[in-house]
């Protein structure tokens, strides 16, 4: 379609070029994530004809819905613990001098660059019966028999919180850095005690960070696989393990797909609800 206006033609060529430049990357993502996830959805409802059997099973068979329930519970627990440990740390990084702040943030980010698998292994070493923690507690005379710290819920939660804590601290810190310092001073000059000013000014203003960090940790925890598999000892079965077992052990691809779809929908709904309150691209660290 030739147009008379050369600037319009130039504009079209320019935009066409931009589309072409982004096409290869887009193709990779389409073929390797959109198609596979779509396939998952198709497979969950189609097996020699349409069937909702796989979904019916999720809601009727104990093992399925109990695993979902357990996964949500453990994710809530992990999120709560991460917030409990992460908020003071983020506050310390925010309030400390520049040097200390850099040290704290560096130590928070450091584990980020260690493979999840390596960290799961480290916790296995630390927490096992003859592990470092048990040896230490025994030599201090605090316990006489080694504690069962791993191959159970405890080990799973310790390692999972460890891996997800940076995802809590960083959004919290970012939100705290946006709070103007003079607000607290204004509060103090008007007679508020430090703890009162913290509760009435700082805490409410840091809530977007709390929401962002909690969402991130919760959603990531919902799909966690390596730590429950290696440290749970079969006692902490999460949704991701249900998916993998249906694929690897029972060859139930339809069931695995349906579980995957429900997990993905849960994540999607959470992101959608949260995105009505805060900007999600910021949560994901895009901007």
């Amino acid at each position: 379609m030739p147009t008379a206006d050369p600037s319009l033609r130039h504009y079209r060529r320019e935009q066409g070029l931009m589309l072409a430049l982004s096409l290869p990357a887009l193709l990779v993502v389409l073929l390797l994530i959109v198609v596979p996830v779509g396939w998952l959805g198709w497979q969950s409802i189609y097996h020699d004809g349409f069937t909702f059997e796989n979904y019916r099973r999720i809601f009727s068979e104990d093992i399925y819905w109990k695993t979902f329930l357990f996964t949500f519970e453990i994710s809530l627990l992990v999120t709560g613990l991460a917030l409990l440990l992460g908020y003071p740390l983020a506050y310390a990084a925010h309030a400390a001098s520049k040097g200390w702040s850099i040290v704290i943030l560096a130590l928070v980010v450091l584990p980020f660059w260690t493979s999840v698998l390596v960290r799961a292994y480290a916790w296995l070493v630390l927490l096992q019966r003859t592990g470092v923690i048990n040896q230490l507690l025994q030599s201090l005379g605090i316990i006489s028999e080694p504690l069962a710290l791993v191959h159970n819920m405890f080990g799973t939660v310790v390692a999972t919180v460890h891996i997800l804590l940076p995802f809590m601290v960083l959004p919290l810190y970012a939100a705290m850095q946006k709070i103007p310092a003079d607000l607290m001073q204004a509060g103090a000059s008007l007679g508020a005690s430090p703890s009162h000013a913290f509760r009435r000014i700082f805490l409410p203003l840091s809530l977007p960070g709390v929401l962002a960090g909690s969402t991130l940790v919760f959603v990531l925890c919902l799909g966690f696989y390596i730590t429950p598999e290696l440290l749970g000892g079969g006692r902490a079965i999460m949704v991701s393990m249900l998916v993998s077992r249906n694929v690897e052990l029972y060859n139930q691809w339809g069931a695995a797909s349906a579980v995957g779809v429900v997990l993905l929908l849960s994540v999607g709904i959470i992101f959608f609800v949260v995105s009505r309150f805060i900007r999600l691209d910021r949560v994901l660290g895009v901007q």
């Binding site: 935009q15 070029l17 931009m18 589309l19 982004s22 290869p24 990357a25 887009l26 990779v28 993502v29 390797l32 994530i33 959109v34 198609v35 596979p36 996830v37 396939w39 998952l40 497979q43 440990l85 992460g86 003071p88 740390l89 310390a92 309030a95 704290i104 130590l107 928070v108 450091l110 660059w113 260690t114 493979s115 999840v116 698998l117 390596v118 960290r119 799961a120 292994y121 480290a122 070493v125 630390l126 096992q128 003859t130 592990g131 470092v132 460890h162 799909g223 390596i226 290696l230 991701s240 998916v243 993998s244 694929v247 797909s257 995957g260 993905l264 994540v267 994901l284 660290g285 895009v286």
Partner: protein, 261 residues
């Protein structure tokens, strides 16, 4: 606020404890790997390179190392140019569809990795890419793309595009002006993106568990399988090496960023 009240001391101790919790696993791995003991005790009874020797002399671990390095390097070689081209288009174009493209390129970060892994497994099973190098590389390209895109989009945001326009108005063609004017100035964000893609490919475990097999198993898959059975100290040696590589690469990325900032 410079009072050393008991509250402040308790607060500082609490933060120190949380920080210790964060770095404890990293601190413990390296000494373990240099231990002479078969069973992991701390502190190690004496130092030795036994587990490193065991690692190097084991052909299965060596093959896995080769696979991991090949996959990571191929991933960087493919994901970096694709990611840079897409990031350039995203930051240049005002088309509304580009926002969708941008969002789509970040999907690998949002979709739970277990779902991605199983989905890819199903598709690969259909087209015969299970237990192949090609399959492993492309899955990792997809997973590494977001890091390149995020890093380069941020780099281009602080780059003044009129410089490229000037070069073009002086007669350079678009491609040359990009390579001689734009790319050198965003090089630190390109390198950072490439390094993150490399680390992502090196550390990737879950997709590899599902789609890799036979002689094309990366380190992480073999480590995972081994850990399911017993705690082999050789894994401490491998973990230490992997962590050292990651930290060195991150150090390179961050010092380069400072230089250019």
């Amino acid at each position: 606020m410079k009072t050393s009240s008991p509250h402040r001391i308790v607060f500082a101790l609490f933060c120190a404890a949380v920080l210790l919790y964060l770095i404890l696993p990293i601190l413990i791995i390296a000494p373990m790997s240099f231990s002479s003991a078969r069973f992991l005790t701390f502190p190690p009874p004496s130092l030795s390179l036994r587990w490193y020797r065991e690692y190097i002399e084991n052909p299965a671990w060596m093959q896995a190392t080769l696979v991991t390095l090949t996959v990571a390097l191929c991933t960087v070689a493919i994901a970096t140019p694709l990611g840079v081209a897409a990031a350039y288009a995203i930051s240049q174009s005002k088309l509304r569809i580009m926002r969708i493209v941008h969002g789509a390129l970040l999907l690998p970060l949002v979709v739970p990795i277990i779902i991605t892994a199983v989905g890819i497994f199903f598709v690969y099973a259909k087209i015969g890419l299970i237990a192949t190098m090609t399959g492993l590389v492309f899955a990792n390209v997809m997973l590494g793309l977001p890091y390149v895109v995020i890093s380069v989009v941020a780099g281009l945001r602080s780059f003044d595009m009129t410089q490229e326009m000037v070069a073009r108005s002086l007669g350079m063609n678009r491609l040359r002006s990009f390579f001689t004017v734009t790319l050198p100035q965003i090089s630190s964000s390109v390198i950072a993106g490439a390094i993150f893609a490399f680390i992502s490919a090196m550390d990737e475990t879950i997709v590899a568990i599902f789609i890799s097999g036979g002689q094309y198993q990366p380190l992480t898959k073999r480590m995972f399988t081994a850990l399911r059975d017993e705690i082999d100290p050789t894994i401490a040696a491998i973990s230490t090496l992997m962590t050292a590589v990651s930290f060195m690469l991150v150090l390179i990325a961050s010092t380069r960023n400072k230089k250019n900032a």
